[in-house]
Amino acid sequence: MKRAAGIILPGLVIFWSLAVLLNHFPPGEQEIQLRYLAWSQARHIPVPDNYYREMPFPLPIWLLSVWPARLLFSDTYFRLPNLIIGWGGLALLYMMLKKQQPEIALATIIIFGITPWVLWMIISDTAAVLTLFMALLITVMGFNTKVNQLILIAVWLGLCLTSLSGLVFGVIFGIRWVGKQKMVIAGSLMFLAAAGISWQYRGYIYQQSIFYINGINNESISKEVDQRVRDEFKLDNFQNIVPLFIKRWVYNKPFYWYRAVTGQILGNFSVEKLAYPAESSATVTRSLWDSKDLPWLLFWEVGLVMAGGYFWRVLKPELGTVCGLFGVWSFTAMGIFGNNFLATGIGLTVPVAILAAMGWRKFPRLLKGLSILIVIFSLLSTYDLFFNREMVWRDNRPEVQMMIAKMAKKYQADYATAVLGRSFLYYAWLVKLSPENLWTGIADHNHPEKTVFESFNLKSTAAAKGRVYVGFPGEFLGNRKENGSNEFHISELPLNWQLLASYPIHDTVSFGNGDFIWTVKIN
């Protein structure tokens, strides 16, 4: 029975992940960008600086650059490298657990593998999955006292060059293992390398930090303190009921900094954010499935994690160390870097899966039997969301941008909108444009082939005869945001403008510009 489960359950994980891979979820803008950077790297083609600046960590690019371009730009298999790295990570995790605590090894990778968000992150975010893989690899190596220190340093360096989150893990790992194994020289090298890499990426690091993203800086804090003092002074008829010198103990910049930073860090500890994304800002219940995110944890996993936490001491010390290390890493990374906090904290998936497996193991048999029904329903409903209701949990920009690119290609458009971002990347993806042509076209005013990708306003600038435009209704008829309207009708188009195609958007992405993509020819 156990043997059968050992084959069937991992098979289930592989089946699910393959099903996701083959489901043709359109790529995100960054996924295309990363693949073009990798292709350019492989062919030594120069890339505009800003494209590297946005993705400064080179390992994901290096890694993808060794894959054949045909695979990287395949409509079906372009995410295969991610999946292989993800499977590698799962195998590493399984090996580590099998050695340390075999009774929870299988349950851990099953829980890990069936959680939809984790699966999606593995499939869609190369940097995140590579970071996780490298972190697991170096942890496994760290447990092995016979490992060659130079190889360890090389892997460690690779980890630091994978992502911001990887850099954070690198620093934490360095501190932890240097102290443990008295690797003074290796530790010093690690420290110097980490310092060097951090210095190299300082601008990017600052831009990704919670301070930058949330506008927390000396000036904003000063304003907040000033405003508070003024408000209270005014409120109390221009006097200070509590003497100002007492108020100053807390109405000062250091204290407000402390509150702001603590608040940001604590903001990550949210059951709603992790398991009930639709409820993350609700007081009165909204629909549980009305969300723009997949749950990071299935709701019953939260209970299992709590139960696992309760039985923390049953974990083998090494495994406890791994959980602690990955936990500290994730919360530190999420605490410092606010952008896409869940991807930043992908390391948390490891202790969470281990604790959930431990919780499951400690569950009474009767409860296990009853819970299996809940598990089945949760899998059915979340996978229905996953495969049938993409627009419920995923931003619709990739789908809309792909449609813009398809229309531009089909109708040989002269102009296509750039309201949603770099739709020309989607165009390049669609026509499999070579990197040379892409970067040259971008340098030539986002003009990869015939089509110019830029926002237009045909209400204020004259439309050229014979030209084909792809864009939002608002770009043809004028934006209506100021009128508080998002409604447009084809009949409003001038008589000599011919609507070639219209595509309805499921959810508003461009306020005031209408919920359609139109292709219009000017006769």
């Binding site: 409120l235 807390v250 608040g263 604590l266 709603e272 219940t285 549980l288 209970g303 309760y310």
Partner: protein, 534 residues
Amino acid sequence: MKQIIIITSIIFLLLASFGLRIWRIDKAPASVNWDEAALGYNAYSMLLTGKDEFAKAMPVSLRSFDDYKPALYAYLAVPFIRFIGLNALSTRIGSVISGVMLVFFVVYITSFLLGKLKYGLLAGVFTTVSPWALHFSRIAFEANLAASLYFAGLALFVMALRHKYAYIGAIMMMVLSMYAYHAQRAIAIPTLIILTMLFWNNFKDTFISKWKIYLAVAVIGLLPLIYSFLTEPAGSRLVSTFILKLWPFAPHDYPLLIYNPIYSLIMQLAGQFLAYFSPVNIFLKGSTEPILRIPTLGLLPLELFPLWIFGLFRLNKNRSLAKVLGTVLVMAPLPAVITWNWFSVVRTLALYPAFIILAAAGGKWLWERQFHHSGLKFAVGGFWAVLFSLSSLYTFLTITIYAPLVTFGDFQPGFKETVPYVMQESAKYSKVVIDSDQAAPYIFFLFYSKYPPALYLKDNHVIKTNNGTEKRSFGKFEVRNITRADLDQTGILYMGPVKSLPDWAVTNIFQKEGARVKDFKDLLGYTSYRVVSL
């Protein structure tokens, strides 16, 4: 000597609690809200006539806005209204005293379960300065009184572990808490039963010999409540907020075979339960609902977060603590979990003192076990204490001084300033018309005018429905919308928002006719009410 120090410390703590809760209580929150006004006026009515605003003598529940508020709070307000008069202070002081007593009960329970008074005092300090405790003790909340009585019951239960006679007190307090707030009706007796079962070895002998007495006390205590449930729609609140109203939970175009309603219900219940343990909700967000929200603050101080986490994971190390707190942690969220509110602070007020005790337990563990170097221990402890003290000062300033600027709108502003003026002017007029955008303006008028309950009852005791928005009249006062036709009348005193007594009417009608117009401004300088003497 030791006893003197103990008593002095506790007295000092309780005095500090009282001081923090009573200071500027009539200014922060800026005015009474409609529930407070209803509690206050019903208490006033009971004091002077022996009946509530619907002429019901000795009510168990106050019908009020057809929400059937438990009446215990109003009864407790009666003596204060007798001696201080009907105002914000006399209406709220019952909550202040409940808050102070809660500090005492937390000190007692923590000292007993953690074995040292110093940790009890620590928990007392946490309760004294916690944002939720401070906020809810400064507003006339039945929930605050109920939480205090619930913890009195718990304290007596804990006491009964050593002194069996206290058990009967625990029953009485738990029963009493059920007269204070809806939530306790669901959890007070089950809590006591579960605790008794968990500590069965301690109570077996006494229970077997005295169970008839215990049962009699509980049944006799509950009789008025049972009678009330049978004769009044006292459960209407639960019916209107019940979670099954969301059935079948999934949107209509989702297949119910996959999004099974029973599964969805379990998911919903689990989520709503877990929401009460979500650190963001506890330490950062708190409630976002009007009246319950505390600007810029969560429910507990940020600094308690690490202690709370340690306390939670070390709970199994102290069996008695685990049994008592475990029971409260499971029971206290239940009244809220079965409603459609995702996160309702007011229904779960009994949970937060338990969190504080948990934090004190975490603090004990950290202090006693985690630092082997005493210098480091005092350095970390000192640093933490400084941060906590500063945070407490921030909390105090926020709640007592700053909050009204943000929350004044939650407390239906304007009546406090306007009604006394209207009453003073009303002597010259045969009719006074009161209009308001706020719900239940009549209760604010009654409250701030101290309108004689006997006169009010004469005209209004037969009202069929009362959700607060209905028209009504008492004496020469009419509560209704002011219409365009009213503006051409003379000999009438009007009180209303600018929307009903607009600027153009001031210029074109009132000023030409020599009417007196007086505007009352809110904290942001906008006109909350306009009084026009035509």
